[in-house]
Structure formats: structure tokens, C-alpha cells
């Protein structure tokens, strides 16, 4: 009995060292560039979880592709068609990084971004102040996303993605 208690205490104490974080609030913003205009779309419907133990942190963030809203409803419907939201409803970002990075104000992490059913590794720049800011340039063609065109000119292949994230324990 004593042994069982000891084992349970040991197990729970080591598990307690792991910290769980959930997204308290977050924003994701895309910037699409075209010869004639630059357009931004945003979503605040992000869900995420980060688990940190003594050594490393692991995170997963998901955002419904349908939830991105720009200044024009017609453009949003086009975006949903291009991203094939019925088949690939979620955009996800996941990865691991050393827990010590959390103490830094700027660092870069490797993250697997899944969009349009294609997963690709990106280097994401992180800036930490009161919240966590993340930035990377999404490459549409790498995810087999057909670039939409206007007046026969296609939008740029690189789409800057910016995130503002508040984690809460």
C-alpha cells in the first residue's frame, strides 16, 4: 500500500510539472497582395493548446478556414472555394520547441502548417511582449492552392500571416 501511494505521488508530482496553456484570445491575419490592391482578412476563431514540461513545449493551434473575414463578402466566398473548405475545413499549426525559449523575447520555431490538406514546415518568427506575436510567409503553391487572379494578374504566391496570441494557464 505504501509503495502504491509512493508511486502515485511520484507519478502525479512529475505530471504536475507539465503546464497546460489554452488560447485565451487570438487573431490570425492574412495579407494578400495583388498588382491592383492589398487586402487583409482576419479570424478570431482560433483554438489552441500548449503543453509544456520542464524540457519542451508542444502546441497545436487550429482555425476554421471559413472564419476568415475580409472587407468584401464576395472575396471571402472566393477564398472559401479556393481553400476547398468542405474538404479541408481547418488550418492548423503545430510544433515543439524548447521550454527555455519561452523566456526569450524573440525566437524562431519550426512549425508544421496544414492548409488545403497539405502540411509543410515553416520557420515562424515569434515576438513576445504582453502577448505572443507570430509571423511567417505562407506559400500558396506549396499547398497546392490555385492563386486567384483579377484582370488576368494572379495574386502573389507569398501570403504574410500574422498571429496575435494570448495564452492562459
Amino acid at each position: 500500500m505504501k509503495n502504491l501511494i509512493l508511486i502515485l505521488v511520484l507519478f502525479s508530482s512529475t505530471s504536475l510539472l507539465a503546464k497546460d496553456f489554452k488560447l485565451a484570445s487570438a487573431k490570425a491575419i492574412y495579407t494578400v497582395k495583388h498588382l491592383m490592391k492589398t487586402v487583409k482578412g482576419r479570424s478570431e476563431e482560433l483554438k489552441g493548446k500548449m503543453v509544456c514540461d520542464q524540457k519542451e513545449c508542444e502546441f497545436l493551434i487550429a482555425v476554421p478556414a471559413k472564419s476568415f473575414v475580409s472587407s468584401d463578402s464576395n472575396r471571402d466566398l472566393n477564398m472559401q472555394t479556393i481553400l476547398d473548405v468542405a474538404r479541408f475545413p481547418l488550418v492548423t499549426a503545430k510544433g515543439k520547441f524548447p521550454a527555455t525559449e519561452l523566456e526569450k523575447s524573440d525566437w524562431t520555431l519550426k512549425s508544421l502548417i496544414s492548409i488545403h490538406g497539405v502540411e509543410k514546415e515553416y520557420l515562424v518568427k515569434i515576438k513576445k511582449s504582453q502577448m505572443m506575436e507570430a509571423h511567417f510567409n505562407l506559400k500558396l503553391e506549396d499547398h497546392k492552392i490555385e492563386r486567384p487572379s483579377l484582370l488576368t494578374f494572379k495574386i502573389e504566391n507569398e501570403v504574410p500571416m500574422d498571429f496575435e496570441i494570448h495564452w492562459a494557464e
Partner: protein, 179 residues
Amino acid sequence: MKLFWTCLLVVMFSQFAVAEVSLQDLGLGDDAVKETPQKIEFQNTMKERQRKLKRHEVLGLATLGLMAATVMTGDQGAEGNTHMYLGMATGAMYFTTAYYSLTAPKPMGVIDRGNIKWHKALAWVHFPAMVLAPILGYMYKQNEEHHRKSSSLVEQHPTVAQIGFGAFALSAALMTIEF
């Protein structure tokens, strides 16, 4: 000794006890990612919509070009047939463009927002103008050929056509430039 090894194993195991974060942890179950017949139908509707609106865009730009040429040849309307033929081509292109817009399916519950709202509202200006301008133009030409005096309404043919052209050009610009 046995207890030591057990404890060591527990400590080691617990280090791996932090399971990989999954979509279920975010409250996103299978329903969020599963394909359903409704979702597939939605996607097919969207593709059909995109296909028709792409044609609407291309034809709309061609119509704008023809419309500009028709307006520019307006002064020669009574003399030759160039203006009339350009007007006929513009009309045919205009109504074909309108067909692709009007028959493009739109998902239920989507409320127009942004420039598309103004793009559609301007149709209430250029559509009546595009119906009226050719009728007035035909009447004006007939009167000129038969040396009859046109009524004041018929004489407004250039004004009606220019209003239609202006509204149509603005409508196209709204979809091209971010104001």
C-alpha cells in the same frame, strides 16, 4: 531495490505522459473535419459560382471596352452604322455578362458586405440605362433618317448612355481597386 526500479520507471514513464496535443483537446471532434454530403454539395455550389463569376468578370471587362467605343463613336451615330453595330455588340455582351452574374448560385445566409454591395447596387442604374439607351438610339436614328424632329426624351439618348457607361465603369472599378 525493486521499489527503486519501479519508481524510476514511473518517473521515466511520466515524462512521456504528456500526450501529443490533438484536435480533440481543442474541442474539435470528427464533426469539424468530416466530409458530409451537405459540405460536398456546398463546395460544388461554390465552384459553380466561381466559374460563372469568372466569366462574368471577363465578359464584363470586354463589355466595358465595347461600351467605351460605342460612347466615343456617338457623334457619328446619325451618319454611319458603326455606332449602331457597336451598340448592338455592347448590348449582347452586357446581357450575357448579366446572365452569368444573375445565375451564379449564392450560398444561403450570406449577406453582402463591402464593395460587392455597391457593385450590385449600381446595376439598378446601368441596367435601366442599358435597356433604355438602345431604344432611344433606334428612335433617334429613325427620326434622323426620316427628317423628323425627335422628342426631348429621345434626345436624351446620349445622356442615358453616358450615365449607363459611368455606372458600369464605376461598378467594374469597385471590384478591381480597393477603396
